[in-house]
Symmetry: C2
Subunit: 155 residues, 2 copies
DNA sequence: GATACATTTTGCACTAGTTGTAAATGATTG
DNA sequence: CAATCATTTACAACTAGTGCAAAATGTATC
């Protein structure tokens, strides 16, 4: 994702307005590798702007997604996660214990798209989701049940 | 997924009861490669059992999932898809035009799990989602806009 | 800096998908 | 065939996200 300044210019250049809400959302996303939900961005946002609405967050994220500045991830955890890392192709590690999501780059240079015969299906995007347990949760799990802020209900 | 008969035995063996509703759901899933939603299974089910509830479908699917007899897929299309194919590791082709989902086997023998260093993250499952356009939709798309029963809203 | 106007924000109602509750039903076992 | 306890059902509730319209506010232009 571009910097808040660059995004502001881009927005204005395309006839969009740069409101304080949007500006702040840009800032909250910049360099954010926590794969936040719309809700979690909203919770940060209300700290500064008590009257902001969740709808605004959703709208801004959708625009950023349409502009290719963020990626919307559906990892089957109830709500969409947003990833400002869109420059390099990467994959995701999803911890089934704490729910944390982490970017992951393949070390081997596999071109996944080439796996699918083009006559059969024209691939525009191929992404791997690795599910498992992160290092932190493995340690915690081996000791005792500990409350984790990001804890997710695994049914 | 096992056959309805085998599933019935398994259910009984684990103290569960085999109701006509469950039995019919087993049958509807057997060999079903359409990756149905709970809703679409329900719609088939009501044809035979007019008073069946959607809740029953969800509950039975959840049990089958817990028993490892079906896989629940969250592909970011609003609702979960269920896949009775759990015997071989396979991946999914998701058509962004018509919403159809199709199983796909890698021809190359890549072990995705080995890509992630175990100290970093302990992978229990790795799945690739290929998004793009299926052969049918490509042809349709090159002609004109045609109504497709599985059409999905792409925003 | 003031003006005009389209864009945005907000609050609220609403949808879709899914789950919780509790009473009624019914499969299984002895 | 009766007792037991899982299951089903209807319905309400919940979560994530969207549609709507009035009010507010950036931005280009003067």
């Amino acid at each position: 994702m571009r910097s808040p300044d660059e995004l502001s210019d881009l927005f204005r250049a395309s006839g969009r307005k740069v409101t304080p809400q949007r500006r702040r959302i840009f800032e909250l996303l910049e360099g954010n590798s926590s794969h936040p939900t719309a809700e979690s961005i909203y919770l940060e946002l209300v700290k500064d702007m008590p009257t902001v609405s969740l709808k605004t967050v959703y709208m801004t994220l959708k625009e950023l997604e349409e502009m290719g500045e963020v990626q919307c991830l559906d990892l089957g955890m109830g709500s969409s996660r947003f990833d400002p890392n869109v420059d390099g192709e990467h994959h995701h590690l999803v911890c089934v214990s704490c729910g944390k999501v982490r970017d992951f780059q393949l070390s081997q240079n596999w071109d996944l798209k080439l796996q699918v015969p083009d006559e059969m299906f024209s691939v525009s995007k191929a992404e791997i989701v690795f599910r498992g347990t992160c290092a932190t949760c493995r340690v915690i799990g081996s000791r005792s049940v500990v409350e984790n802020s990001d804890k997710v209900h695994i049914s």
